[in-house]
């Protein structure tokens, strides 16, 4: 590996010289590539915002205007008129919130049982939890749709959240976390007379907050972004989630590009804030499943 050490000093200097030239050429290439990449990646984002404030004449002009000449808020007002955006925000928040809370709760309990409680057929039961991860939701979506609408839960919050109240993913992640919990702390708690319930909620959960937060973010975003299930289980604009509302905005009779983009911008704000300001925090949540 350390070939440089054996080179004579002059040769080394020459080599460093050409390396420097090569490096500056390389630098230029790197910046060009990065610049092109940034433009490509950021352009749709830019255009969503620019288009959202353009008037209809600018948007339908050909070639398309890339800079808004005048700024209008009409598109936002229009978007809110065509779809009940506020209500759909609420629907998305309620749905994703309930799913997140429920998954945290069921996963905490299950993971606790796997790590801290005596259990017969532990491996088999854990295998069941892992197996649920292998089933793509789309493979069971038809019976779920038939079953839940049969129960009269179509177009309700129950219909939106019920199938997602537990998760093999959350349980698996938390089990990993719980297993790293120091045995001494656990024994100390027991000597202090803490029962399982108290140990779980007073000691274990508070000390695992980072893992829980990471899982919560992941679950919340997944639920927030759902499309197929809310599309078929909801019917009215009042019960649809933001994602379905956006899609319907596009097919609305009054829809034009400005209106559509305004809807996108409005729907985007929370996640955008999350990405721009809480990036590092989010990354932990996203890569929770990755590599330990």
């Amino acid at each position: 590996m350390t070939t440089t050490e054996r080179l004579p000093a002059r040769a080394r200097a020459a080599r460093e010289g050409t390396a420097r030239i090569r490096e500056s050429a390389g630098r230029a290439a790197v910046y060009t590539l990065l610049g092109a990449a940034v433009v490509t990646v950021a352009f749709p984002v830019y255009y969503a915002f620019a288009g959202a404030v353009m008037g209809p004449s600018e948007l339908s002009s050909y070639p398309p205007a890339l800079l808004p000449h005048s700024v209008t808020g009409r598109n936002f007002a229009g978007a809110v008129e065509v779809i009940p955006l506020g209500r759909q925000y609420l629907n998305s928040a309620v749905t994703a919130g309930l799913i997140t809370l429920a998954q945290l709760l069921t996963s905490i309990l299950a993971a606790y049982a796997f790590v801290f409680l005596p259990l017969r057929w532990r491996a088999a039961v854990f295998g069941v939890f892992l197996a649920t991860l292998m089933v793509p939701w789309e493979a069971v979506i038809i019976p779920n749709y038939l079953m839940l609408s049969g129960w009269g839960l179509g177009n309700t919050y129950f219909g939106l959240v019920l199938p997602f109240l537990a998760s093999g993913f959350g349980t698996f992640m938390l089990r990993q976390s719980f297993r790293q919990f120091p045995a001494e702390l656990r024994d100390a708690a027991r000597i202090d007379g803490a029962g399982h319930w108290r140990f779980l909620w007073r000691i274990l959960v508070p000390l695992n907050k980072p893992s829980l937060a990471a899982i919560a973010i992941y679950v919340f975003l997944s639920a927030w972004n759902q499309y197929f299930w809310p599309l078929i289980i909801t019917r009215t604009a009042q019960m649809q989630t933001l994602q379905i509302g956006l899609a319907s905005l596009r097919d609305a009779e009054r829809a034009d590009p400005g209106l559509i983009l305004a809807g996108v911008v409005l729907s985007l704000l929370p996640t955008l804030v999350l990405v721009v300001f809480g990036q590092r925090f989010v990354v932990r949540g996203l890569t929770a499943g990755a590599v330990r």
């Binding site: 209809p56 004449s57 339908s60 050909y62 065509v82 038939l146 609408s149 049969g150 179509g154 019917r235 009215t236 604009a237 596009r250 097919d251 609305a252 009779e253 009054r254 829809a255 034009d256 590009p257």
Partner: protein, 467 residues
């Protein structure tokens, strides 16, 4: 079970139903059987003899402005029948959602009292055997249906009986950018009548810039099977056999006829020649192209007229839907939806109340409100005499085209439109055929032939399942 015992059982069921229909006024337990084919409807006394409020659950698919107008009509009706009938409108999503939901409700024996179903669901609704024909009520009461536009009645008449009460109807129109016409030296008052003329006009209307870029296409419509159905009807030929499924249940589609192939080939050739914009299946994209002035001629329903006149910066003109050749004897088929009264599982009083409401909605005054508020075609002829309606027509003179078009259409099997249990899939098949022809993968004749062949198993199994 032998044939005999089946017939016996059917006979018994029919007898039992006849009994319940005559005797009971409010029993809601006749949840099976076939009261629709019998076509017997309870008389007005069923409602008169019932104590308290009879509730009508009404499933519909109206949104936005349409829903607002519908709600106001419902409120008006409820106010007039206070203490007697209460209509509860329940929005169920898109027309497709309504059908899906209705299917589930049949399985769960919880159908609504009244349901709004799109035109192409007509065959399915009859086959579901859950409804009482509107004709049966009209006959019972001696109520004249003559004021309902004959062209509209024609669509919903099956086996000589009006199966459902027409409610919201629309027709296809040829929309024109009048400014573009003048610019190209064409007269928007003399719009193209045949596909050949339309093609010629499209060539003149197509405009390119200095770089050879097309800035305006002569023609553009979304890849929507309905437009082909309408063009076939305009040619006076059939879309499916058995007189468009009017004589008997259709067991074969005929859209791969010479006329069908010519229509689709014409469309594809215009796209391939660069005279028509292909905006794909998404309706909103084609509409956006017309509104933005990117397309000078455009096929759409009457329903979008108001939106177009408000959004477009050019003068929007309308023309009758085009024909294949000048001497075609056909005309447009009515689109939209109708109201179906459910029989099994609903008391006689409830059925009566549904009928009263459906009747109310189709009366001239209500249809005038509906027509002017939504842009749908008035299903009642007399609605056009309403002052409110006249005022509206003065504001949107382009709508007169649709009225003239419908009144000029002779009710024939061709203009009645095809009734098919698998009509939605048939439409999808035609859309695929259009795409294949445009891409050049197949000729129109091949593509439509393949679509018909692909559809046959679904059609057979549908017909087998309804016996």
């Amino acid at each position: 079970m032998s044939k005999w015992s089946l017939r016996l059982a059917a006979g018994l069921a029919a007898a039992a139903l006849a009994l319940t229909a005559c005797s009971s006024s409010s029993s809601g337990d006749s949840s099976s059987g076939d009261s629709s084919s019998g076509g017997s409807a309870p008389g007005a006394d069923a409602l008169d003899q019932t104590q308290g409020v009879t509730t009508v659950t009404f499933w519909h698919a109206m949104t936005g402005q349409n829903a607002t107008v519908l709600t106001s009509l419902v409120n008006e009706f409820n106010a007039a029948h206070r203490g007697k009938i209460e209509v509860k409108p329940l929005f169920q999503g898109t027309y497709d959602d309504v059908i899906a939901k209705y299917k589930a409700s049949v399985q769960q024996k919880g159908t609504p009292s009244l349901v709004q179903v799109y035109d192409i669901g007509t065959r399915f609704m009859i086959d579901s055997r859950q409804t009482v024909p509107a004709q049966a009520f009209a006959d019972k009461d001696g109520y004249k249906l003559d004021d309902i536009e004959p062209g509209i009645r024609n669509y919903y008449t099956v086996g000589g009986k009006l199966a459902a009460m027409p409610f919201n109807s629309s027709m296809p129109l040829l929309y024109l950018d009048a400014d573009a016409f003048k610019e190209a030296g064409l007269d928007p008052a003399k719009p193209p009548r045949t596909l050949a003329e339309l093609g010629e006009a499209a060539k003149k209307l197509t405009k390119k810039d200095a770089n050879g870029q097309t800035v305006r296409y002569g023609f553009g419509a979304s890849v929507y099977g309905w437009f082909v159905e309408e063009l076939i009807a305009e040619s006076g030929t059939l879309y499916c056999d058995q007189d468009n499924g009017r004589a008997e249940k259709a067991d074969k589609v005929l859209f791969d006829s010479v006329q069908g192939a010519q229509t689709v080939q014409w469309w594809a050739d215009l796209v391939k020649g660069g005279y028509a914009a292909n905006t794909g299946r998404v309706t909103a994209d084609a509409q956006a192209a017309f509104k933005a002035g990117k397309v000078a001629m455009h096929l759409e329903s009457t329903g979008v007229l108001r939106g177009y006149t408000e959004a477009a910066k050019f003068t929007v003109a309308t023309a009758p839907y085009p024909r294949l050749t000048a001497d075609d004897q056909g005309g447009p088929v009515i689109g939209g939806a109708s109201l179906w009264i459910d029989g099994p599982g609903h008391s006689a009083a409830e059925q009566r109340a549904s009928w009263e409401f459906a009747k109310f909605l189709t009366e001239p005054a209500q249809q005038a409100v509906w027509h002017t508020g939504t842009g749908y075609f008035p299903v009642n002829r007399k609605a056009l005499d309403d002052p409110k309606d006249k005022e509206w027509l003065a504001k949107y003179p382009q709508f007169q085209t649709a009225i003239d078009e419908l009144h000029a259409t002779k009710p024939t099997p061709a203009t009645a439109g095809c009734l098919l249990g698998v009509m939605p899939q048939a439409r999808k098949g035609v859309e695929t055929a259009i795409e294949q022809t445009i891409s050049g993968a197949k000729t129109a004749q091949q593509a439509l032939g393949d679509a018909a062949k692909d559809l046959q198993p679904a059609l057979d199994s549908y017909n087998a399942s309804v016996g």
